[in-house]
């Protein structure tokens, strides 16, 4: 079987298990699992790869030399952060503001909470600060928002501050001064004095000045992110190096790349490694973008249902939306993150009847791996959406996760009866069906309002549905929305890992700007404005190219894309827009930029909200640079025909649907062939996912092993 040509390796090193995902040149893939080995993750990774390759009868020695590329994503850094097991970091800030980091801007006391708990103040709490107050020192200086020096740097305060931190035993020093993104001189001077002091003390501690990493406005975000760089990211670099070394020892001929928050992959040598803090959830969106490119689809709604949440992301005109000041792990950050909206509604969501209003409440908490009442070993009494699936016959209790877990339909039935059906005065089946209907209605509303809120209509979009629970509900949540197409890849359960393998090798750098141009600006003012923007683009371009040089790419290999962030003067929200120009130097160029902004603004906020009379502000410059890397192939199969092969049919099951028991055809997903048309009512099963084709729909499998779900008129 060594005839398989392995191409792409994607690694997902979780807290307990490491998954490897290996794709061959036919687009086929295998998934391996092994325990994560926290001390040296490369050990667990190799075990996992051995497990994966065993399905193809291959060895690591055979497979690795053939690989074209490998992408790592992992939770080690996040775990280090969340469990507060990072480095002992010292922090230097403005004198007088030593408390701001631990104060968490108040907002960090309820980040990540459900709506109900955000209101319910007795539940609020702060996590311990990454840097406690006793390892924080202040130095005197002030720079204002324009970059003017208000108070000169009191240089004599720096060395004692550094000495005290060293005495406290810190292992790294972070410096973050107000408005340093605007005028970095003081912060860099503090950095240089700190380094000189450390040399004097013969101490080799890393020093991180925020401006060298994240030169963007909002000190809480910038400081947190720079601290994470020192606290969790930099210490994780050795882990990544070990992974890279170990793979090369096994014959790999490429540099391992790491999935980053902006939806691209970066080198393990990248300056800003905190960008790789969170990557798992965005893998699917990256995969959606890649699949969209391959299929020629520009506008995509990516939807993913897992056990705990429903995640949606939009790809418009072939691009992600980026959130530049997101929060993760209950911290506000200044990382560019692929924008995803999440609702706490998944297949494992608990279902309750509110004792006060007698309304059905879904989530926001969920059973997770404990599934629900149908899984006695999970030890849960409260019913979940999965219990309703079981009652209705949508899930085969004997084939859940490929039969690894046996579910108890009778227990699910009794639980739903006691907790839901009887209190509402409905039959068990009607109550279960109602839950699914309600869940899908909520998801559908959410999906619709998200698309419409961005100024689009679903008819302009294709919807990709994946994740373990996605295809169960796809028909329910797209019903009536009129998507151009609805696609369910047959590898839906592994779509996130596929996405990681498909990510670009791309760096993205942001810089805060404040270019104000009035509504009646002169030509000269417009030229000046364009010039400042161009200067920022030049600086960021250089930064991008330097990063690629570390992996041996020359500047001519790098494809650059320029972006700007613009708003009406005085507004607080900007829009990120790709510049339709390669360079901006003239007044005409400036006008092109403002025109592009006006068009986008009118689409997002309605035409009536446009306010050109206020003038414009450019708030940021962004450069994205990428180089060519191998990507997984999309599967390609010969056309077989509309009628599915007999062996794909796995029998018939009774399913309760909209008031009656009906006969559903059960199909084995892997056995279906290109061109097969699956009519309602059908349930297409694979070990990791269940795809439902309900009444009013049909599904057709195309030659790329993607199902197209169609709503019949």
């Amino acid at each position: 079987m060594a005839s398989r040509k392995t191409q792409i390796l994607a690694i997902d090193a979780g807290g307990t298990m490491t998954d490897t995902f290996i794709i061959d040149d036919m687009g086929e893939f295998v998934v391996g699992k092994a325990q994560t080995t926290p001390g040296d993750e490369s050990v667990g990774l190799l075990h996992s790869a051995v497990d994966a390759l065993s399905f193809w009868g291959m060895t690591v020695e055979e497979a690795f030399p053939q690989l074209l590329t490998g992408v790592y994503s992992g939770t080690a850094m996040l775990n280090r952060l969340v469990s507060r097991k990072g480095r002992k970091v010292g922090l230097i800030v403005n004198k007088g503001m030593e408390d701001f980091h631990r104060m968490g801007r108040a907002i960090q006391s309820y980040l990540g909470y459900s709506y109900s708990d955000r209101l319910h103040i007795n539940t609020h709490r702060y996590d311990p600060p990454l840097v406690p107050r006793e390892w924080t020192r202040g130095v005197t200086e002030r720079i204002d928002l324009f970059g003017n020096i208000v108070i000169p740097l009191y240089e004599h305060e720096v060395e004692p501050a550094v000495r005290e931190l060293v005495d406290e035993g810190v292992e790294a020093i972070v410096i973050s001064l107000l408005h340093s993104y605007k005028n970095p001189t003081h912060e860099r001077r503090v950095r240089d004095i700190a380094k000189a002091t450390l040399r004097k003390l013969k101490r080799d501690l890393p020093v991180f000045a925020s401006v060298d990493y994240y030169p963007v406005r909002k000190e809480s975000h910038r400081t947190n992110t720079t601290i994470i760089e020192a606290y969790a990211a930099d210490p994780s670099r050795r882990t990544l190096e070990l992974v890279d070394e170990r793979m090369k020892e096994q014959g790999a001929k490429f540099d391992v790349r790491v999935m980053a928050t902006h939806g691209g992959t970066i080198s393990i040598r990248a300056n800003e490694l905190a960008r790789t803090l969170v990557s798992g959830p965005i893998g699917g969106v990256v995969g959606g973008k890649y699949l969209g490119e391959a299929l020629g689809i520009q506008n995509i709604v990516c939807s993913d249902i897992g056990g705990t949440s429903f995640d949606i992301a939009l790809i418009t005109q072939g691009d992600f939306t980026i959130d530049t000041s997101p929060d993760m792990a209950r911290l506000v950050l200044s990382l560019p993150l692929v924008a995803m909206d999440s609702v706490g509604a998944g297949t494992g969501s608990f279902v309750r009847v509110d004792p006060y209003t007698k309304s059905i409440v879904l989530g926001p908490d969920s059973a997770g791996y404990r599934v629900g009442g149908c899984y006695p070993e999970g030890g849960l009494d409260t019913i979940t959406v999965s219990d309703c699936h079981v009652v209705l016959g949508l899930i085969n209790p004997d084939n859940f996760l490929g039969g690894q877990i046996k579910l108890d339909r009778e227990r699910a039935y009794q639980s739903v009866k006691e907790q839901l059906a009887d209190p509402l005065g409905l039959s068990v089946e009607a109550a279960s069906y109602g839950v699914i209907e309600l869940l899908e209605a909520q998801l559908r509303n959410y999906l619709e309002s998200l698309v419409m809120g961005k100024g689009y209509s679903p008819t302009q979009f294709a919807c990709f549905s994946y994740g373990g629970g996605g295809p169960l509900h796809t028909a329910g949540y797209v019903r009536g929305l009129g998507f151009e197409d609805v696609l369910v890849p047959a590898w839906a359960a592994g779509f996130s890992a596929f996405g990681c393998g498909a990510a670009d090798f791309e760096y993205r750098y942001d810089r805060t700007l404040d270019i104000n141009v009035g509504a009646n600006a002169t030509q000269k003012e417009q030229v000046e404005a364009a010039g400042i923007l161009q200067e920022a683009w030049n600086e960021l371009t250089e930064k991008v190219q330097q990063e690629f040089e570390k992996n041996g790419f020359q500047s001519k290999d790098v494809q650059l894309r320029m972006y700007f962030r613009m708003q009406y003067q005085g507004q607080l929200n900007d829009l990120e827009i790709e510049a339709p120009l390669a360079t901006a130097t003239t007044a005409d160029d400036w006008k092109v930029l403002t025109m592009t902004f006006e068009e986008t603004y009118a689409r997002v906020y309605a035409r009536a909200a446009r306010s050109p009379e206020l003038g414009y502000t450019v708030t940021g410059a962004i450069v994205r640079g990428s180089v060519e890397v191998p990507k997984p192939k999309i599967p390609e199969e010969p056309y077989y025909g509309e009628t599915p092969p007999k062996e794909a049919h796995r029998g018939i099951r009774e399913v309760y649907w909209d008031g009656e028991w009906i006969q559903a055809d059960i199909w084995e997903m892997e056995a279906l062939k290109a061109g097969n048309r699956i009519e309602a009512f059908s349930i297409i099963e694979s070990p990791a996912t269940t795809f439902i084709v309900p009444l009013g729909f049909e599904a057709v499998l195309d030659q790329h092993r993607i199902f197209h779900l169609r709503e019949l008129d």
Partner: protein
């Protein structure tokens, strides 16, 4: 939005041009007749609109829930989207905007996230239009836009500006949608949204009384011109208005979409039932969480107007105190009554409130504890009975009253309600729900002039959104966390406030000793030291409690620290900076030490308890301290775990001398400044303090005897006597109870005429003329 309209079977543009009928209520009724009918049915039956049963919900709970979730999700989403149009950090960062959907009669059905006080205020405006026959003149037509911010029509304060849009279906009003934002300036006597100067309605700024400002979805030009000439911050006004209109139109489209899917009859039935459901929901919560009975509590806050830094007309130059006694009665049925009899009279200051802001605003508090969920609508209002004495500060009997910072009294009057509810939770065993009360949500840093960009500007810092929280019965109150009007506190980034205000930060620090002491202490507040920089013709003022704590500890806990002000003018900071000399930085940890003044020369330093001022002129390099308050404590401080005292000392939450005095802590401090509390010695010292307390104490009856003598002799500060005199005058019942409690002579009374104070407003009023 265009795409949504395509989905509808009846096109809104068709509706816009449709000839409206003369009556626009349901089934040929006028809106006024509908209002009367709902009130009558509710009154007669005790159920909203007479709904003893909920047939829709009972027969099809899933569909009912689907409509709710679609409406609620749509409102939240409209708010999130519209918010991004705004320029004001108050709206965009602090989220001070809210959208609510109403019935044709003005009862709220569902509300977005945001400032929930507005579930009722815009409803009051709609009811006003309904009751004043707006359908005849000026007419209510599809595509109309109405605006209101008039306090006497039920608004909280003029800076909450409402945009209200009717929703028509086939020629009938099926409802209204209202949007409100907290604007930065209303063109009042002083700059800032909640300015201190106003003492009458005519100083409060631009007031729009339920005015039609647009037709066919377009604002009238005369309106745009007039409003732009009436406020200081024109750009923000403009974008705030666009924010409100954008949200209202999104929600109107949403409702029309639901009606086309579900049918108008189902929609109407849903709106009625969901309000009745809200009423039942609250009653069930009250039943589950509390114990029936009467819970009494009180609060006060200072009105220090007889001061040279409060520039107001002579009749307003009064030092007095706001009085807010309250009695919560929980009936076995779950019905709740809130009686504020004994409250003091309205006054010539900016802190009066209307009944609607009071009865509606209470939900911002109750959703943080009793009903933390999304099902808040007027049903909760119908489940609660309020007694707000006519003529009191929350129910003025005179149209002249000013309201620009009504919250000063509201937040003070609501703090005791936490204590009442907490006693009920405690009794029922829900000790995790206990909360000793909310902080006084001040200081408000406000002012205006030419800003750092050379524009005329007003500022209103919302750092006040992160005050200390009241202590719980199982843990300390959270530090610098939230505000009673916004549980989702956010102090904002300094770099963002410096974009909005020509004031650079010289400090942002946790303020020790500001949380009330207790077994579990109140959350501490914080403070920001600001230096004026880049401004011209700049003024600022202070707004907060100073002489009085407006909250109170619970079950032995202490109240939070009260406020004070620090400002410095004509400083030598420029020279100090140039010469690398020390200067005020960071916190003013122990105000009595006047630490800032040790490193500062200034022509004028004002450091006193006068925490309310009107506009003062500030030059560049002048200083202003913005101190945000802490929350009250729970339980006897002598029961506090010594380890927690040690943590407080090391964290800078507690000053050492108070660790000794209040907690009886015995501790040492090492050369690195770390404190270590000696547990055994501390316990010994605590025993001694208990003995000292016993030695100092007198039996209650004896104490009451001496206190009674003082009352008979009217031996109290004039501010206290003035406060009581106004309370007695408005509510004879309160006077009788007071006399009975203290066993006073039958003819005992305390009259305002006895006091040497201005009495404008005490006799020439419209008492009982309106009622």
């Amino acid at each position: 939005m265009a795409t949504r309209q395509d989905d509808l079977s009846v096109k809104p543009e068709g509706l816009l041009h449709q000839q409206y009928r003369r009556t626009i209520g349901w089934n040929g009724k006028t809106l006024k007749a509908m209002r009367e009918e709902v009130d009558r049915l509710t009154e007669e039956s005790g159920y909203y609109a007479g709904l003893k049963e909920l047939p829709f919900k009972q027969s099809d709970p899933i569909r009912f829930e689907k409509i709710f979730s679609k409406l609620r999700g749509g409102l939240v989403h409209a708010r999130e989207t519209a918010k991004r149009v705004a320029a004001s950090p108050i709206v965009e960062q602090e989220g001070e905007l809210c959208f609510t959907l109403y019935t044709p009669e003005g009862d709220s059905i569902v509300t977005s996230t945001g400032i929930i006080i507005h579930v009722g205020t815009m409803g009051a405006a709609i009811k006003y239009m309904v009751n004043h026959n707006y359908e005849e003149n000026p007419g209510i037509e599809p595509g109309d836009i109405f605006c209101n911010n008039d306090c006497q029509i039920g608004n909280v304060h003029p800076c909450d500006v409402h945009t209200i849009v009717p929703i028509f279906w086939a020629g009938e009003v099926v409802g209204w949608v209202g949007g409100v934002t907290h604007v930065i300036d209303t063109g009042a006597t002083g700059p800032g949204s909640m300015t201190v100067g106003p003492v009458t309605r005519y100083d409060d700024g631009y007031q729009i009384a339920c005015r039609k400002i647009g037709k066919n979805d377009i604002l009238s030009q005369d309106w745009v011109i007039e409003s732009q000439r009436s406020v200081r911050t024109t750009k923000y006004w403009l974008l705030d208005e666009r924010t409100r209109i954008a949200g209202c139109h999104m929600i109107r489209d949403l409702v029309l979409g639901i009606i086309s899917e579900e049918g108008v009859d189902s929609y109407r039935q849903f709106t009625r039932e969901v309000i009745e459901e809200g009423r039942r929901g609250l009653i069930n919560r009250v039943k589950a969480m509390t114990i029936p009975g009467k819970y009494r509590q009180v609060s006060f806050v200072d009105i220090p107007y007889r001061h040279e830094d409060v520039e107001v007309p002579p009749y307003a130059k009064v030092d007095t105190i706001m009085h807010a006694p309250s009695e919560i009665t929980i009936h076995p049925s779950g019905q709740m009554e809130l009686d504020f009899s004994g409250s003091s009279r309205w006054g010539w200051h900016s802190y009066n409130a209307t009944t609607v802001s009071f009865t509606s605003g209470i939900w911002v508090m109750l959703t943080q504890t009793l009903i933390p969920n999304d099902r808040i609508n007027d049903g909760a209002y119908f489940a609660t009975k309020f007694d707000l004495p006519y003529g009191a500060w929350m129910n003025p009997d005179d149209i002249r009253t000013a309201h620009s910072y009504a919250w000063h009294f509201l937040v003070s009057a609501w703090s005791p309600l936490w204590r009442g509810l907490s006693r009920a939770y405690f009794a029922r065993g829900y000790i995790e729900e206990v909360n000793a009360g909310n902080a006084n949500t001040s200081n408000w840093l406000q002012g205006g002039g030419y800003n750092q960009y050379g524009d005329i500007h007003a500022v209103n810092s919302f750092e006040a959104a992160a005050e200390g929280m009241g202590a719980c019965a199982v843990k300390d109150g959270l530090d610098h966390a939230c505000a009673i009007w916004n549980p989702e506190g956010d102090m904002g980034d300094m770099e963002i406030w410096e974009l909005a205000e020509p004031l650079v930060y010289l400090g942002r620090s946790i303020k020790p000793n500001t949380g009330g002491y207790g077994k579990y202490r109140g959350g501490c507040g914080y403070e920001s030291l600001r230096m004026v920089w880049g401004a011209e013709d700049w003024t600022m003022f202070f707004m907060g409690n100073g002489y009085i704590s407006s909250d109170c500890g619970l079950m032995g806990g202490y109240p939070a620290a009260s406020g004070y002000r620090f400002e410095a003018h004509g400083t030598d900071l420029k020279e100090r900076f140039a010469n690398r000399l020390p200067f005020p930085q960071g916190g003013d940890a122990r105000p009595a030490d006047a630490g800032y003044e040790q490193v500062l020369q200034a022509d004028v330093v004002k450091r006193d308890k006068q925490a309310i001022t009107t506009e003062q002129i500030f030059e560049n390099h002048d200083l202003y301290l913005n101190y945000l308050r802490g929350g009250p404590g729970f339980g006897d401080p002598l029961e506090r775990n010594p380890k927690d005292v040690e943590k407080d000392l090391n964290g800078g939450y507690l000053l050492p001398e108070y660790a000794q005095k209040v907690y009886g802590a015995v501790f040492t401090k090492d050369e690195r400044g770390h404190y270590q509390v000696d547990e055994v010695a501390t316990q010994k010292r605590q025993q001694e303090i208990r003995k000292e307390r016993l030695a100092r104490g007198v039996p209650t009856r004896e104490w009451m005897k001496t206190e009674r003598e003082r009352i008979v002799a009217k031996d109290a500060a004039v501010q206290v006597r003035h406060m009581y005199a106004t309370s007695f005058e408005i509510t004879p019942k309160f006077l009788e109870e007071f006399k009975e409690f203290w066993d006073l002579p039958v003819d005992w009374n305390l009259l305002e005429q006895e006091l040497e104070m201005p009495t404008f407003g005490s006799s020439h009023r419209m008492v009982n003329k309106q009622k």
